[in-house]
Amino acid sequence: MIAGRVIGEVWATKKAPGLVGRRLLLVSVDGEDRVMIAIDTLDAREGQAVLVAPGSGGRNVIQPGPDNRAVLCDAAIALLRDDLPEES
């Protein structure tokens, strides 16, 4: 999984049908200059330290497998970390 911190959110009206109703959060990857977008089902807030599950692991967060290959997700927030304080 990828360790990161929630830094923002993205809103879009025009999107793939598979993304309708999904909350898209901007997550800055720890120790890198990279920002990824992860689907959030856990109500993560900005500044929250999280672990992101990429690939099919992220799909399992949205809908447990194995029959979830039609789910549109390549990264999802899998857990909110308690071991790191929230930053704002």
């Binding site: 911190r5 830094i7 923002g8 959110e9 993205v10 809103w11 879009a12 009206t13 025009k14 999107k15 793939a16 049908p17 598979g18 993304l19 898209l24 901007l26 800055s28 890198e32 200059d33 990279r34 920002v35 990824m36 977008i37 992860a38 689907i39 900005e46 500044g47 690939g55 099919s56 799909r59 290959r69 039609a70 789910v71 549109l72 997700c73 390549d74 990264a75 930053e87 704002s88």
Partner: protein
């Protein structure tokens, strides 16, 4: 997924038959520095990193900000918007899945 700006279009005549008619865009991902550099106005610096070629079935234009999905999610996004007769094995690894209206970033520590 990642946030990117559309910077161009890619044309090709000779290509894998299953890619026929599929629009290809050149996009540049936003880095943390791009997004955090322009705060608090909320308008990011133009990204300067390596480009990514992705399929587009939503009709994004040059200059727009988009969400790109990669891998299997990209193929799911494209195949759900193409006719059901399209083979599911399209050879793409990145696709536009949303055209961004707005995004908000708080300054990271």
């Amino acid at each position: 997924m990642f946030l990117a700006k559309v910077i161009g279009t890619v044309w090709s005549t000779v290509k894998w038959p299953e890619l026929g008619g599929l629009k290809l865009l050149l996009v540049r991902p936003y880095s943390l520095e791009d997004l955090a550099g322009a705060l608090p106005a909320g308008v990011a610096r133009a990204p300067e990193h390596d480009g990514v070629v992705c399929a587009d079935v939503l009709g994004a234009g040059v200059g727009e900000d988009v969400v790109i999905a990669y891998g299997h999610a990209a193929r799911v996004a494209v195949s759900e918007l193409l006719p059901p007769s399209t083979p599911p094995s399209i050879p793409i690894d990145a696709a536009v899945v949303a055209i961004v209206d707005r995004y908000a970033v708080t300054k990271p520590a």
